[in-house]
Amino acid sequence: MDGQGNIMTSTLPQGFPEAQIDTIATCVLTAFQNAKKAQMPLSELIINFTALRILARELRGGAIVFLMPTTANQPGRKS
């Protein structure tokens, strides 16, 4: 996404709600921008939810965001 939150390219499926994409973009960009205002510029954010991890890298005002569901199927685990 660019610095205004416009999605430039995405590998998300077409069915992924646009509203959710926009919200993710807004949250990530706001977090980067406000961190800068707080004199604590950040280049990367990792947001851990119970079932999802979001990794965001700041790119000259915009960002690239990776969405990774967290499941029990981690590499190397056996039941």
Binding site: A31, A38, L45, F49, A51, R77, S79
Partner: protein
Amino acid sequence: MAVQQKILLLDDEQDFLDLYQEMLGQHLSMLPEVRTALNGSRALSMLEAEKYSLLILDLHMPKMDGLQVLAIARRKYPELRVVILTGVRDEQFRTRAYAMGVDQYWMKPETDQEMGLFMESIETLLSAETQGGFRGVQSKSLVDIIQLECLSQNSALLKITNGAVEGKIWIQNGEVVDAEAVGTTAEPAFQRILTWKTGSFEVLPPDPGRPRKIFTSYQGLLLNTAQALDEAASQVVQTPGGEEVAAATDAAVMLAEISQLRGVEFVLASILRKKKRTHEFWGIENPKPLSDWMEGTFDQFDELGEMLQAGQLQQVVGTGPQRKAALARSGDTRLCVGFGANLSADELRDTMKNILTKWVS
């Protein structure tokens, strides 16, 4: 005429399914009908087709794992009892499973004794189903559960988990006989556990061999603890400007302790007191911009988590050229901890775990 109860077993190993189908079908007193499924899709189809009393499922399965099945089953069949039976010991998965609403979480039994305990707990779960009653025990407070167990003259072992910290309360014949938490036992441990505002708990089979160390009645224990908590909450001081603020205290002492941890450059805590947030900090000259960032980030990502149905926001880690920052919560308290830029990801994770353990205790 009593309706025969149905159990659905879900695991990707046929041998396991065959063994437990026989065990559960023949050795439980209510002789339930036990059906099996080798994958999540099949299990969900079976749940759609017929009513089951209990779902026992493994976590680690190809294509659709146990947590994914759990998420769907919990939403579509709120009355269904769910037990996780897994071979992988992982506290994170345990916490996640309880947060999603399982009734019990078991490691696959390896000894006869463990198998006996497991069968007993399934028997108890199914008996509760036939006797009626209410689900959603997790929505009750710990005090409610203790009172319920004691009033019913029950014996049980309550295992309480609060993040990385664990406590236990032994109840025998309606009396609280012992407690254990964070290196303490008896009444001090009981009081400490009851100060935990959030967490999850399991009601395990009783431990009749536990020697008695608490001799106060459960009503007395609860009253003493409530009084102690009220006294702590009501300690306020007046500033020269006439404003009442919480006495300082535990939070300030805790921040000072946290500041001694390796790599910590600053700490900011947002504490909810009487529905209002107060901020305590160490190592920051002007905390307002940072506290605004912290509160805004928490609020935004909490909302995002709800929108995406991704579960609770657990932690945010930011990396910058000069420093790293981690956001986490402990109960109603929001924490922002700043670290040097050179701290590795593993060290940061371990230090945050340490901080949250200290905060809770």
